[in-house]
């Protein structure tokens, strides 16, 4: 059995063109290695028989296209991922923002919501949740629906609890959710300050001004040019002295905005200083 990928480079470009033309979704700036891998993964997962049929299905079946978008983008996430990052939020970033009468936070690429609920928990513990609003956006409407439910597999709670404690959390983590069969449902009051909405970082414009923008492990899927473009979008959406937080292996360095952003010591968090 050949282990060669079923979809080759030219076919990847063909699909990208099709999708742009048919649905207006622009994947041209996505890094090709990852995109190709996701496409081949989907092709195998769905046991497609030929590229022609796969291409046709994507182009003509809008329900399948929804699945296509879900699977092409990476939605892997966990609560309090990189605990030291959340520790920095808790100890340095949020206390600084506490002086604002109102805190607006944009979580770009929120996926199924784990980061948003983590943020809400930290805000609640700092008594800041009441005056905050978390805008959680993603390109993918399906994951947003899941995020709005606030239900995660119970089996993950042990790991999430460890992450939470390592990030400086002192409460009983299980007090934030109620367990039901295999599901942990997080408290409704955490969700009250969340707004879920679709937003495509490639195509959509700035829609508000924020004091804190988080976009973690999303830029890695974009090529350099698109990364710079998105950073510009964030810059347009961030108040002066606001904070921008990226994933542990991401950076604003070399981008057009880098000179106006000063990095906090250990984490990938920058403060805008125009």
């Amino acid at each position: 059995m050949s282990s060669l990928p079923s979809i080759n480079d030219e076919q990847v470009e063909t699909l990208i063109d099709d999708v742009l033309e048919q649905y207006g979704y622009d994947f041209t700036g996505y890094s090709r290695a990852s995109l190709k891998r996701r496409l081949n993964r989907l092709y195998s997962l769905d046991k497609q028989v030929s590229f022609a049929e796969f291409r046709y299905k994507i182009g003509s079946d809008s329900v399948y296209f929804k699945r296509f978008v879900e699977q092409i983008t990476v939605n892997v996430t966990e609560m309090f991922r990189d605990p030291s990052f959340y520790k920095a939020l808790r100890d340095k970033v949020l206390p600084t923002l506490a002086t604002h009468p109102f805190i607006r936070i944009w979580l770009a690429g929120c996926s199924t919501g784990e980061e948003a609920y983590s943020m809400a928990i930290v805000l609640k513990e700092l008594n800041l949740l009441q005056k905050s609003l978390i805008y959680a956006t993603d390109i993918n409407p399906t994951v947003l629906e899941k995020a709005a439910q606030g239900m995660f597999p119970l089996s993950q709670m042990k790991q999430y609890s460890e992450n939470y404690i390592a990030s400086g959390g002192k409460e009983d983590f299980s007090s934030y959710y109620s367990a039901n069969y295999a599901v942990a449902k997080f408290d409704v009051d955490l969700k009250e300050k969340m707004i879920f909405s679709t937003h495509n970082l490639v195509a959509d414009h700035s829609f508000n001004e924020f004091q804190l923008i988080l976009c973690r492990n999303v830029l890695i899927y974009f090529d350099r040019d698109l990364q710079f473009k998105v950073l510009q979008l964030f810059d347009n959406s961030l108040e002066n002295l606001g904070f921008l937080a990226l994933g542990t292996k991401e950076t604003t360095d070399f981008s057009p905005i880098s000179k106006r952003y000063k990095r906090l010591e250990m984490e990938k968090i920058w403060r805008k200083d125009s």
Binding site: P83, S84, K87, D91, E162, I165, A166, G168
Partner: protein, 120 residues
């Protein structure tokens, strides 16, 4: 006679890396991923210094350290507490450890803390 280091951590990678680094520096290393029967483990090896991770399975790092410090034959052995938790110094104090090392640490810091406490 090389000085002996005993490292307790449930992360095999940490154990392997620290072993290689400290062996290079001329020490003899023993490792364990559990604090089960900690007194017996330490009595059997009689190290010159002990590294204790916070998150040990069975008995946690704090309790394990307290047990060691309560034992007449072992309380003199320096215990260096380590943790990825930013409150590592508070945890180390609570445990009664002699010093602490915040994770992630680098080679230089590791070697320095060992040689400060027990020489080369």
């Amino acid at each position: 006679m090389p000085k002996k280091v005993f490292i307790f951590d449930d992360n095999n990678d940490i154990l392997e890396l620290c072993t290689l680094i400290l062996e290079d520096a001329g020490y003899e290393i023993k490792t364990s991923a559990t604090s089960n029967n900690i007194i017996e483990q330490v009595l059997a090896y009689m190290p010159d210094i002990i590294f204790m991770d916070n998150w040990l399975p069975d008995v946690g790092g704090i309790e394990a350290t307290q047990e060691l410090k309560a034992h007449p034959d072992l309380k003199h052995i320096p215990v260096i507490y380590f943790s990825a938790n930013n409150d590592v110094s508070a945890l180390a104090n609570k445990a009664g450890a002699d010093s602490f090392l915040a994770k992630p640490f680098d080679i230089h810091t590791l070697e320095e803390i060992v040689s400060t406490h027990i020489g080369k």
